[in-house]
Symmetry: C2
Subunit: 489 residues, 2 copies
């Protein structure tokens, strides 16, 4: 075998082991007995140790040096393998193992602290996580910006200054639109109680409607909705709330966006470095366009209204127009994942600033709750009432995800670009959506973006699909038009 | 660190990776989407490759040579690690990977063939499995008996001739007792349909009654009941049949026996070579004594009768005596796992002879169905009516388990020895069981056997608990007394 072939064969096993690690994460959130957490920590540490050893294996450097890629795909494979190798050799193996062990423990403590509304019970382990992640960031940055180094784990080729620039450009428009909208009365929401099994049945139907393949996936309940796995085994979770069926439905559509991206990557890339979504931002662009630009459109929500009336009877709103308004309610609230499209990015900006300060050493973990609460009051105009509505609401930091939050808003920006191009290419899209047929939209996304997996770099992936370099203008125009029309402002 | 300490630390990670491999097996049987089978095969091959590389790592040989065990436990650790190492270096890594890949595929094909009653669809992949397992057996045997080498994977220190000797000694008594019993009318079974969710709820209650710890385990449904995992995460499965609640209940008790053994091993052995049941035969002694000697006793079945009447109302039998007879019905049937205590070993003897012939090359896979059906007719007096009642009924061969079946009957023999000692030590056991309190029995088993895990060799484990070397006489006496009394023969 040539060096290139040896490298690809080795990488194939590494990818398979990476899938196993992901499956353990899924199990931990859905199936694992609570008392198994300690042992699971050791298991995760062991598999992460194996993965780290493989990613930093000296043979990889040798193969990379001698590998001769046969074509464009081969060159992309080498690019991605090289990136993973260069990252891996910067981080000592025992540090990676310690991070795996501590974050496994921290996740359990976070869930308990959140249930108990007890920030103090979570802070000691979060402090450990932050200290370890800063060590990792310093190793990765090699003297440069620690937080930038962490962002590049999720969105290669984007810096925190670039992100701050985009956020600064968007913020005035968002603040202005939000202020105008919140002067108006809040539209009626749904009313009644909604059987949770019936919600799950509807969620399953909608998942399939959006092209999710249950022969290569499954839908379960978990505390935090997520998508996990690549290729032939891509699983999603959602949650139910008897008073708020939209929580279940739109979490499901969101995760289907992630999962469809993974399921639709060219099968030729299965278990290779290209066989998955290229970055978190591009991933989020898929979940967001499924959830918001398609799922919360006037046309699709009209179809969904009929479905919900058929399943639940009286749902408290009685027309498609009122249902559309209910689906797009802008109102005060604490929870990022329940936030509307308009205010969502303000939640992200808060986390972006706080985690950047934590990573750069400008904020102590012991001051985190106060900093969160101060910032929330400043941005939203009212105070956090309990920790599960504040700094304990998200799982991310407990599992060591720093540099990840900003990719949510980058995803929104990318989704804006893609949506503009989709509407241009398919002028009668709404006629399809009004029949509950999303296949022209999902087919366009598969063809222009999803099938390519990791073939091109993130920005190039968006540029190829949208027809131009990503920028925030299409998203802002879309939000302005949608909400000014809906609220008459 | 000393060589001993380095070896134990290395082994700890290997054990953690082994637990991961086991969890993937559980997932495959309970949760995995069907279309993921191909990818799962690659994942299993990758983790098995890692495990094989670790087990045969040259450093292990070096550490073993220099290791100085501090005490008896340390010596036992070295004994078990040495055994695994010596086994691993005999089997080439690529053969182990191929076996993992083919058996993963074969398991799916077996399930489909069984559903379709289509032996021919299963034989080609079984042929591959048999060929690969024979290669493995030849590598392990190094010129000695191939089938003996495979048995020692499950029951170290026992040969096929020893097993044949035990089976020969038991067979006349079993044949005679069976003939006498089957001359009598078959007792009434239960009648009615039994809600499957209610069966699962009862199974869960009984599992807890028998000491199964749901904080370190979980109960799900699967095609074939099994127990999986060690230490803090030991999961079991069962199945339901609306017409036969005993199938669910006694499968659950059986698997709880396996799981309790794993859960009750001394926590000091967690993630070490001693932190699990010592052999399949000893394992089976636990599942059998839970299921049969305790679960099917007159005393415990009296309590269970009350539970079932409370939950299901009219169950078709109206007294404790009639219920006891229903629980211990001896009647003609095809399925090993549904067989009574009396005939069970005849099912095992059939499989023992056939798989020994397959492994020694005395039987072709293409002749397996005919051989099975001929032997079944000879032993049981009537013909197999469909493959799912014959050679497609068990998962074992599809996943490469050859040499495993005889350990079921060894387990029965061991259970006979343990039960005799248990009754001697606790003369009023039936008073406890009649109240549904199994804790004196399970406590005795934990103290005398389960807590020790892999500390002592299998036969020594039984001898220590029973007070004498294992033999088949106590089991035969127990069966003779129980069934001659019950049937008045």
């Amino acid at each position: 075998m040539s060096s290139f072939e040896q490298l690809i064969a080795f990488e194939r096993e590494t990818q398979a082991l990476g899938q196993i690690s992901g499956r353990l994460g899924w199990d931990q959130e859905t199936m694992m007995p609570r008392g198994a957490a300690l042992q699971r920590g050791e298991e995760m540490a062991a598999i992460e140790g194996v993965l780290h050893a493989r990613r930093s294996d000296p043979r990889v450097a040798e193969w990379l040096e001698n590998a001769d890629a046969p074509d464009e795909v081969g060159r992309a494979q080498l690019r991605e393998i090289r990136r993973a190798y260069e990252r891996a050799v910067k981080v000592p193996g025992d540090l990676a193992s310690r991070i795996a062990r501590v974050t496994s423990e921290a996740q359990g403590k976070w869930a308990q602290a959140r249930a108990d509304e007890d920030v103090a019970a979570f802070l000691p382990v979060l402090q450990e996580v932050v200290a370890l992640k800063r060590q990792e960031g310093q190793a990765l940055a090699a003297g440069a910006n620690v937080y930038d180094a962490m962002i590049s784990d999720y969105e290669q080729g984007t810096t925190s200054s670039q992100i701050a620039e985009i956020f600064d450009a968007m913020r005035p428009g968002l603040v202005d639109l939000r202020a105008r909208v919140l002067e108006k009365p809040v539209p009626m929401g749904l009313s009644g109680t909604f059987d949770e099994a019936a919600q799950m049945a509807l969620a399953r139907q909608i998942a399939v409607t959006f092209g999710y393949d249950l022969n290569h996936g499954r839908l379960d309940k978990a505390v935090h909705p997520f998508s996990s796995g690549s290729g032939l085994d891509v699983r999603i979770t959602t949650r139910t709330n008897p008073l708020d069926p939209f929580n279940c439905i739109y979490s499901t559509i969101h995760e289907v966006g992630h999962a469809a991206y993974e399921q639709n990557v060219d099968r030729a890339y299965l278990l290779t470095a290209l066989g998955r979504g290229v970055s978190m931002g591009v991933h989020e662009s898929q979940s967001r366009i499924y959830e918001n630009q398609i799922g919360r459109s006037r046309a699709f929500s009209g179809w969904l209204f009929g479905q919900m009336r058929d399943r639940f009877g009286d749902i408290g709103v009685t027309s498609e127009e009122a249902f559309y308004a209910a689906v797009n309610r802008v109102q005060n609230g604490y929870i990022r994942t329940e936030s509307d499209e308009l205010q969502y990015n303000l939640h992200i900006m808060l986390r972006f600033d706080l985690e950047r300060a934590l990573m750069l050493g400008d904020l102590e973990v012991s001051d985190l709750e106060a900093a969160w609460n101060d910032r929330f009051l400043a941005d939203f105009g009212y105070s956090v009432d309990k920790p599960s509505h504040g700094c304990l609401q998200d799982v991310h930091w407990s599992v060591g995800l720093f540099g990840y939050f900003p990719t949510y808003s980058l995803g929104n920006v990318y989704a804006g670009c893609l949506h503009e191009a989709l509407r241009r290419d398919i002028p009668d899209l709404d006629d399809h959506l009004a029949r509950g047929d999303t296949s022209v939209a999902t087919g366009w996304l598969r063809e222009h973006l999803q099938q390519h997996g990791g073939l091109r770099e993130p920005r190039e992936t968006i540029a190829q699909a949208a027809g131009h370099d990503p920028d925030h203008v299409p998203l802002m125009s879309y939000l302005e038009e949608k909400f000014s029309t809906l609220y008459g402002v």
